[in-house]
Amino acid sequence: MAGILAPGLGVLAHLERLETQVSRSRKQSEELQSVQAQEGALGTKIHKLRRLRDELRAAVRHRRASVKACIANVEPNQTVEINEQEALEEKLGNVKAILQAYHFTGLSGKLTSRGVCVCINTAFEGNLLDSYFVDLVIQKPLRIHHHSVPVFIPLEEIAAKYLQTNIQHFLFSLCEYLNAYSGRKYQADRLQSDFAALLTGPLQRNPLCNLLSFTYKLDPGGQSFPFCARLLYKDLTATLPTDVTVTCQGVEALSTSWEEQRASHETLFCTKPLHQVFASFARKGEKLDMSLVS
């Protein structure tokens, strides 16, 4: 009977063994499946990732290229703009040079937020002298905001006459007065600085430089009597005096030669600028010296 039981055990064991085998292989195949599945998913993932990466690469590359193209396209326009800028700058330079040139007409100016600031330049015989300005406010009525005109120039008078009706006339008239004043001042200054040797006393002058008084000698240090001159410039728009008196100090009755000299001096002062008259005195003086030497 052992043989009959024994094989039954054997069959069970065999069955057990088979069962284990099957479950093991089932496990294996499941594992394999899952691994396979995993591997499949990974593969797809990789596949997808690869695709995404390639797309992004292309997109970025494309954008860079289009930016380049954009710049390339934009460049010629920008060069045109740069040329425009250069042309503008050149034009600006020209206009500035021309504005500077207006100084040589005697009148120049700048536009201001209120109106205009006019600059009056003065000169005498080619010598460029002081400038003055008048800042005008363009309103009704036209008015002077501020100015650098000396107080003894009749600015208010001239403005009262012309400012409201004719700015040009106002400015030209003011020009006349200022140029004449500058010219008289220049002559007096030159006399004081260049011919001090011939003056025997200080030059007396008023701020307007239209009344001058001085004493002078033709031969400084010599024995002759000094002359006394008084120059009055009644016409404030002129640079030559209207009234001249020359007297000889300390001599009651002048000899004919002195009288002749005195009269000729009066004429000289009336017709020639002051410093030029003295320049001719100085030259004569040199001539006299030369004659003494020889």
């Binding site: 990732l49 390339a72 920008q78 005697g106 080619g126």
Partner: protein, 288 residues
Amino acid sequence: MDAELAEVRALQAEIAALRRAWEDPPAPWEEKSRVQKSFQAIHQFNLEGWKSSKDLKNQLGHLESELSFLSTLTGINIRNHSKQTEDLTSTEMTEKSIRKVLQRHRLSGNCHMVTFQLEFQILEIQNKERLSSAVTDLNIIMEPTECSELSEFVSRAEERKDLFMFFRSLHFFVEWFEYRKRTFKHFKEKYPDAVYLSEGPSSCSMGIRSASRPGFELVIVWRIQIDEDGKVFPKLDLLTKVPQRALELDKNRAIETAPLSFRTLVGLFGIEAALESLIKSLCAEENN
């Protein structure tokens, strides 16, 4: 599988980087190419240029209005100005703190129908006490050259190197010139038969004759003079042409005194009224 995982990780990193690159494109000037250089220039231009090109246009506009104002004010239209500067300071002068500079200017423009070209030099001497500036040479070329009155004035201005006087007097001369031309034209149009301008309206004379009084002629000579000081003023004269017979009949010597009377007339009523009355007096019958 590790290799694959590794690949996955690598791909994911690359994608992340690409995504960043897509969102912030690289600054063009970081790219090393000629694009960089030109873009830098453009960038500079954008920084200064854009703002200031608007400024430049505004500035130009502003200065051009200034120019137009000055041109109207002075009556002078300057179209060109160039300048050269030469430093004449010698080492000796520098030691004494003296500076000498020569400016050469060239300037051209017009005053109505007169065009001018000026070349002049300005010498600037700066010493310790003061700065002196003087015109040392002046050359003036004017067109048209027919105005004899002007040529004398031009030589005087050149001699005196008086730029300001030149411009001021030129302006007033041209104003008078234009006024004279307008006045002559006006009378020619108003009295076409009586008035004749043998040398055109720009000349200095205007003639009056009457068809009903042949042999009688009045000629007004209107000169524009510029005196020593550059002051411009008109000078009018009347010339009469009268038949002999009329002279004999003229007991009151009206014809003899006509020139003087004319001057008085001008002084009293002004040029236009005086001319008008002369024309009317000669052509009285025609006007009735």
